[in-house]
C-alpha cells in the first residue's frame, strides 16, 4: 500500500497553537539573556524601592508600589512579545492563521505574566514584607488584574511592533488604555490589604472580569488587522 504524504501540513488548530507556543519557548530559550534581564529588572526595581522607602512604608503605599512595579515590569516583559522576531514574521503570514498566532501568544504570555507575578510577590515578600490581611483573595484579584495587563499589552505590542521605534511607543500606547483595569485592580487590592472580604469587592471584581472578557474579544476581532502588513 502506498504511504500517504509523510509531510502533513498543520490542519488541527490545536496542533498549530501548540507548535507556536513551543516556538515562542524556543526563542526565549535561545535568548536567555532577555528573560534574565527582565528578572533582573524586577529585582533591581524592588531593591530601589526597598532602599528609597526604607522604614516609611505603610500598607497603602506597599499596595501602590506593588502595582506600579508590576505595571512597569509587565510592560518590559510583554512589550517584546511581537518585536522579538519581527524579521521572521513574514514566514508566519503564510504558515499560520492570525487567530492561532494570537491564541498562542495570549497563552504563552499569560504564563509569562504569572511567572512575573510569582517572582514579584516573592521578592516583595522578602524585602518589603507582605502586609495583606486576606492573601487568597489578594491573589484572586491579582490574577484578574494581571490577566487584563497581559492581554492588553499583547494587543498593543502587536501594534507598536509595526512602528520603527516600537519600544518607545509601547508605554505611550499601553498606559492610557490600561488605566481602567489598573484603577479597578488597585482599588480592590487596597481594600483587601485592609481586610475586605469577597462580598465587599465582588462588584468591582465582576466589572474587572467583564472588562477582561471585552478586551479578549476585541483582541481577537482586531488582531488580524494589526498583524497583516
Amino acid at each position: 500500500m502506498r504511504k500517504t504524504l509523510s509531510f502533513q501540513p498543520y490542519f488541527c488548530p490545536m496542533d498549530q497553537i501548540i507548535a507556536l507556543i513551543k516556538k515562542d519557548l524556543l526563542v526565549d530559550f535561545r535568548q536567555k539573556y532577555v528573560v534574565a534581564g527582565i528578572a533582573l529588572y524586577v529585582f533591581a526595581t524592588i531593591y530601589i524601592a526597598y532602599l528609597a522607602f526604607n522604614n516609611v512604608i505603610t500598607p497603602a503605599i506597599w499596595n501602590a508600589l506593588f502595582w506600579l512595579i508590576l505595571l512597569f515590569s509587565s510592560i518590559t516583559g510583554l512589550g517584546k512579545s511581537f518585536g522579538q522576531e519581527a524579521h521572521r514574521s513574514h514566514y508566519y503570514y503564510y504558515l499560520a492563521k492570525p487567530v492561532h498566532i494570537l491564541t498562542s501568544k495570549l497563552i504563552y504570555y499569560g504564563f509569562y505574566e504569572i511567572l512575573l507575578v510569582v517572582l514579584l510577590t516573592g521578592i516583595f515578600n522578602l524585602f518589603l514584607g507582605f502586609p495583606v490581611e486576606n492573601p487568597s483573595l489578594f491573589l484572586v484579584n491579582l490574577l484578574a488584574g494581571a490577566s487584563g495587563l497581559s492581554v492588553c499589552f499583547t494587543l498593543i505590542a502587536s501594534i507598536a511592533a509595526k512602528s520603527d521605534n516600537g519600544s518607545h511607543l509601547m508605554p505611550i500606547l499601553a498606559f492610557p488604555v490600561i488605566i481602567p483595569v489598573l484603577l479597578l485592580a488597585v482599588t480592590n487590592s487596597r481594600k483587601i490589604v485592609f481586610g475586605a472580604s469577597l462580598a465587599d469587592i465582588s462588584g468591582n471584581l465582576w466589572v474587572l472580569v467583564c472588562f477582561n472578557v471585552i478586551i479578549i474579544a476585541l483582541s481577537f476581532i482586531l488582531f488580524p488587522y494589526s498583524w497583516k502588513n
Binding site: I159, P176, I179, P180, L218, L222, Y225
Partner: protein, 224 residues
C-alpha cells in the same frame, strides 16, 4: 459625512443655533441655586463639549470600522479628522470644566472621578495621534490607527460611563449626588441646553469637514 460635506442647510442651522445659544445662554433666566449662582450658565458651553466629543469619537469609530472593511483611505481621513476635532472639544471641555470647578468646588482639579476619567480619555486619544504620526506608510497608518481607535473607544465607554458611577463624585448624577434633570436642569435651562448641544456638535462636524477638504487639497498638491 459625504452628505454633510455637500449639504448647506445644517451650516445655516448651526449659525442660528449658536447665536441663540450665546444670547440665550447669557441673557435668558437661569435658576438661582446656592453655590452655583450665575456660573450655571457655563452649562451651555461645558457640557455640549463632551456630547460633541463623544459623538465625534463614535462617528470616527464607525469610519475606522468602515476603513478596515473596505480599505478606502477616504474613510480613514474622516476618522482621523473627527478624532482631531473631538480631542479639541475634549480639551475645551476640560478647560471650561476647570474654570467652572474653580468657582463652585473651590479647586480647578479636585480629584473627581469624572475629571480623572476625562483626562485619561484625552491621554488615550493623544496616544492615537502620536501613533499615527510615528508611521510612514499611508495604509499602515490607517490600519493601525483604526485598530487603536476601536480599542480606545471600547476602553473609553467603561471609563466615562461605568467607573465614575461606582464611586462618589462631585458631578451631578454620580454617587449619591442628584442626577441631571431632576431639579437643577429646569425648563429654562433646557430651552437653551438642547439647542446648544446640537449647535456645538454641528460646529464640530463643520470644522471636521473643513479639515477633510483641506487635507484632500493638500494631497492633490503633493501629487502634482
Amino acid at each position: 459625512m459625504k452628505y454633510l460635506m455637500k449639504a448647506y442647510w445644517w451650516k445655516l442651522l448651526t449659525v442660528i443655533l449658536l447665536i441663540y445659544t450665546v444670547i440665550g445662554g447669557f441673557l435668558m433666566p437661569a435658576p438661582r441655586l446656592p453655590i452655583l449662582n450665575e456660573t450655571i450658565r457655563i452649562l451651555h458651553f461645558h457640557v455640549p463639549m463632551w456630547f460633541g466629543m463623544i459623538i465625534m469619537f463614535l462617528v470616527s469609530v464607525f469610519y475606522a470600522i468602515k476603513y478596515l472593511s473596505t480599505k478606502n483611505l477616504m474613510y480613514d481621513l474622516y476618522a482621523e479628522q473627527l478624532v482631531n476635532i473631538g480631542v479639541m472639544f475634549g480639551v475645551l471641555g476640560i478647560v471650561s470644566g476647570m474654570i467652572w470647578a474653580k468657582f463652585t468646588w473651590g479647586e480647578s482639579w479636585s480629584n473627581d472621578p469624572k475629571q480623572n476619567a476625562s483626562a485619561v480619555a484625552l491621554l488615550i486619544y493623544f496616544a492615537l495621534i502620536i501613533l499615527r504620526e510615528s508611521l510612514q506608510d499611508d495604509h499602515q497608518k490607517a490600519r493601525l490607527g483604526a485598530v487603536y481607535n476601536i480599542f480606545a473607544f471600547a476602553v473609553l465607554i467603561p471609563l466615562l460611563f461605568v467607573l465614575p458611577r461606582m464611586t462618589d463624585s462631585l458631578h451631578p448624577g454620580n454617587g449619591g449626588n442628584p442626577a441631571f434633570g431632576q431639579y437643577d436642569l429646569d425648563s429654562d435651562l433646557r430651552m437653551v441646553f438642547y439647542p446648544a448641544v446640537l449647535g456645538w456638535t454641528f460646529l464640530g462636524f463643520w470644522m471636521a469637514t473643513l479639515k477633510i477638504r483641506a487635507a484632500r487639497l493638500q494631497k492633490h498638491l503633493d501629487y502634482e
